[in-house]
């Protein structure tokens, strides 16, 4: 029976798991974009919802596959079409090993196998990505703001999977604002450009209606 965690999944959407789901989603879609075959193996899948349960870190994701790509979420209405139970370390090694040796599959086994194959084809630099993630978290959690980012990244990279495991196990009490800053760096950059445009607009307004400027 798929859904070992279904009862919890409705409530397990703390910021931490939101961030993890978003990270996994970005990572998969980025890898598909960079893939020589553009993730053709995923395109061959029917529209489906796959449950990925990482036993060692007690984390549960639902991967929703459609023509648009893969969306990752923490909850799913009803049961997934297939369920894969494995461990984070196995997942990280998948591209190298070509298979998940100790995984348990349930639901539509054939679909799960097809999904794992598609995933194995993707050359994802998990450690690099995870180190960004855990590196940021460490920097925040320990409050070592002064520590250089490069150093944090290097240290974290050595034990990326371990560190992630630790953080996922002990739900991080991150402030939304800090978390948001991490996740939306891109948007901040975009806003920066827009702010410049606004500044120009303000100047125009001030020139146009100086007497109303502080109304």
């Amino acid at each position: 029976m798929p859904n070992p965690q279904n009862a919890n999944s409705q409530h397990a959407t703390g910021l931490m798991s939101l961030t993890a789901a978003k990270l996994l989603e970005t990572l998969l879609n980025e890898a598909i974009r960079l893939d020589a075959q553009h993730g053709a193996a995923f395109k061959a899948l029917p529209e489906c919802a796959i449950q990925l349960h990482l036993k060692d870190v007690q984390v549960n994701f639902y991967l929703v596959c459609t023509d648009y790509g893969i969306s990752v979420q923490n909850a799913l209405k009803g049961e997934a079409d297939a369920c894969i139970q494995t461990e984070l370390a196995e997942l990280v090694a998948l591209h190298r090993t070509g298979q998940l040796n100790n995984a348990q599959l349930s639901g539509d086994d054939a679909l799960a196998t097809q999904f794992i194959q598609a995933l194995a084809n993707l050359d994802i630099d998990w450690e690099e990505h995870l180190s960004h993630y855990t590196g940021d978290l460490i920097a925040f959690k320990v409050g070592q703001a002064a520590r250089s980012f490069a150093h944090a990244k290097e240290t974290a990279k050595q034990q990326a999977a371990d560190t992630l495991k630790e953080y996922l196990q002990f739900e991080l009490n991150a402030l939304p604002t800090k978390d948001q800053v991490m996740r939306f760096t891109d948007e901040v950059n975009r806003l920066q450009e827009q702010t410049d445009a606004i500044a120009e607009r303000i100047e125009q307004l001030l020139n146009k209606r100086p007497h109303k400027a502080d109304a």
């Binding site: 648009y68 909850a75 799913l76 209405k77 948007e187 901040v188």
Partner: protein, 250 residues
């Protein structure tokens, strides 16, 4: 209830009922093309986090049908379209043509097509048959609706049995200190930003006031139950700046 009066709140000023619809339309007409950036600036990007949370909790899956009511420029529609796939359907419904147009252009530019319909609809009289949708959302839209009870009844009607409504809306801040700061922000800073960015202080003044007039968490929950929902609950986000109400039809 407010809809029995001949006037109704438009922000803090009372206006004749039929005028509110026109005024609300005016507000969104004037901000449509600046709406996305205003959203980012006003909530400092956090609205994306609130929306993401909503999407995740919906538990949406391929093949389902979704109504994104007051869908505006289509943030939620986009996320749902990706998840329901071509075997599913998302309807972006909004009373304001300019918002829908901006939303449709934006989504098509981003490659979202084939499983999204766009329609101009008033939340109080939805042009859909009973039992149509697996999921209905109304994000930052309910506070603008004149007759909220009617809109909730309509949302209940168009949901399939087993379906879920999600209302994401500014609510009552639960933390007193934050509440003060937030008041200052919404009444002093927000309208000024609206003036600078969209050259439209009045519209953003209205937005700030309409947030304050919106029913608090418990009141809205009760309104949902009164509208027929068989179960309702809410979840505060960012200390209640925003609340996500969920209602189920059994």
């Amino acid at each position: 209830m407010s809809q029995n009066k001949r006037t109704i709140d438009f922000g803090f000023s009372e206006v004749p009922l039929e005028e509110k619809v026109k005024k609300v339309k005016g507000v969104f007409d004037s901000v449509a093309d600046k709406y996305d950036i205003m959203n980012d600036v006003m909530s400092m990007g956090i609205h994306r986090l609130w929306k993401r949370h909503t999407i995740e909790l919906s538990g949406i899956r391929p093949g389902q049908s979704v109504l994104d009511l007051a869908g505006g420029t289509g943030d939620l529609t986009k996320a749902f379209a990706k998840r329901v796939g071509q075997s599913g359907r998302v309807v972006l419904a909004d009373i304001n043509e300019s918002m829908v147009r901006v939303g449709r252009d934006r989504l098509i530019n981003q490659g979202i097509a084939g499983n999204v319909d766009y329609t101009i609809t008033n939340a109080e009289a939805l042009a859909f048959p009973d039992n149509t949708f697996d999921l209905a959302t109304i994000a930052f839209g309910l506070r603008n609706v004149t007759n909220k009870d009617k809109a909730l009844e309509e949302l209940y009607r168009v949901l399939k049995p087993g379906g879920q409504l999600m209302v994401l809306e500014f609510s009552k801040v639960t933390q007193p200190l934050l509440s003060k700061a937030y008041d200052f922000y919404s009444f002093n800073i927000l309208p000024k930003m609206g003036k600078l960015i969209a050259d439209d202080e009045a519209s953003y003044q209205y937005l700030a006031e309409s947030i304050r007039m919106h029913p608090d968490q418990e009141t809205l929950k009760q309104m949902m139950l009164d509208a027929g929902f068989d179960k309702a609950e809410y979840l505060n986000m960012s200390e209640g700046i925003v609340a996500l109400h969920r209602g189920w039809k059994y």
